[in-house]
Amino acid sequence: MRDVAIIGVGLSKFGERWDSGIKELMAEAGLMALEDANISSNEIEMIFGGTMASGRFMGQEHVAALMSDQLGLNNIPAVRIENACASGGSALRLGYMAVSSGIHDIVVVGGVEKMTDVTASEATTALGGAGDQEWELFQGITFPGLYAMMAKRHMHEYGTTEEMLASVAVKNHANAMKNKFAQFHKNLTIEEVMKSKVVSDPLKLLDCSPISDGAAAIVLAPLDRARKFNDTPIKILASTQASDTLRLAERDSLSGIKATTIAADKAYRQAKVTPKDIDIAEVHDCFTIAEIMAMEDLGFYKKGKAGKAILDGETALGSKLSVNTSGGLKGCGHPVGATGVKQAVEVVWQLRGDAGERQVKGANIGLTHNVGGSGATSVVHIYKRAD
């Protein structure tokens, strides 16, 4: 096992990108990452590409080979990774494994989703495939619906309020204001979130991440070669993943995601850190309730305590633990296959000190948390500046 570092990162602008198809989005992020790593195309040995439903959204499969093709990487092996909304995080973990194992030296990890060419109801159907199609989507149960049922249980068990849910969206939109790549540049108030149209009670439109287009890319290298390309390589301290039942009702609990707890425990052990050591985290806030559960399942708060803490501003930009500095899935956008890779891009910028207006001072250790479906997959990574 070798230490692995991130030597280059790139991101496309997230949002409704009517100007760009999947190729343009991938090239935008991919070329930026190669340039950032100051590496030439022929040094790349393999590409791992995360995308969830490009076939459903675009009629385009075989996306990893297409990434390699569009980036001019020529003939290198390329593999697509589909793990619902955790496709990007899963791709990063496989890239990490390829470099760590010594099979490859320089690897590109990409993530992309082009979601806005279809109607909201078609997108809802495509995303519904992340759950158990036979028993959830078949009965008309959507993703907002599944998270709404988790929210209802969380509220029932711990007294979490709709105001607490809304505060997640307010915080993440405020962070997105400072991120030029973000889909939304609009501050929200708790009242606006609470008054937005109900999608699936208690979740309203402004509790939901949006339908988005976007891509993200990362270049990985063995740590001992990383400084050849980059003055500030970011070391991956831990890369872990866990699964659970596809069907929400079959889980041990609806008010938390067990796969996250398992992956997080392993990650802290692998990285030899505790939740208290984390300065910044990008967590999977596909719905506001998901950020509250993530903060608890990742060990930052006791079960039932995260909602109030977020409402009180404990995880706002510049606090002891700044969460979703990019704007999260809610404010920055959620092109599902790109999200897990984008989270790592944000952490790299923060740890390098390159996050501009939203820079968290002294950010030293960062964490990303990427969930697939309603919790059947959870991927956790921990990063540190390699000094």
Partner: protein, 133 residues
């Protein structure tokens, strides 16, 4: 965009969807609805046998879907929930109000009802749903 072809999935699981036939594991006794191919606890050592469920249970969680998938475009809004069956397992299903406000803990029973109409073929799909007792 490919059309959904949900009918195959309906017919394959018709015993469960129409008659609430799940199964249970002879090795450890755990009951499953919908039926599983292997027991989650026993894996390869599981021995599954059919088991008919009463359809009685209580609402564990629920929500009203207002932005539906394509297939349910004409049905929205509708309430779906997770119901804890008296025999133990939890299952998703539609919950009818029948004049009663649905809450966590509301006692329900299963009923055989129309689920949706396939616009294209005009086929009517039936399914178990839950209603307050």
């Amino acid at each position: 965009m490919l059309m959904e072809k949900p009918s195959a999935g309906l017919w394959r699981k018709i015993k469960a969807r129409y008659n609430l036939v799940g199964n249970s594991c002879k090795t450890c006794g755990k009951a499953y609805f919908p039926p599983r191919i292997v027991c989650r606890k026993c894996g390869r050592e599981s021995k599954m046998e059919n088991k008919k469920f009463s359809g009685n249970g209580e609402v564990y969680s629920f929500t009203k879907i207002r932005v539906p998938p394509d297939t349910f475009k004409d049905e929205a809004p509708y309430i779906v929930g997770v119901v804890k069956l008296d025999e133990g397992p939890m299952v998703e299903g539609h919950i009818l109000e029948n004049g009663t406000e649905i809450k966590i803990g509301t006692k329900v029973r299963s009923a055989f009802r129309r689920m949706y109409v396939d616009g294209e073929e005009g086929l009517i799909y039936y399914h178990y749903k839950f209603e307050p007792v």
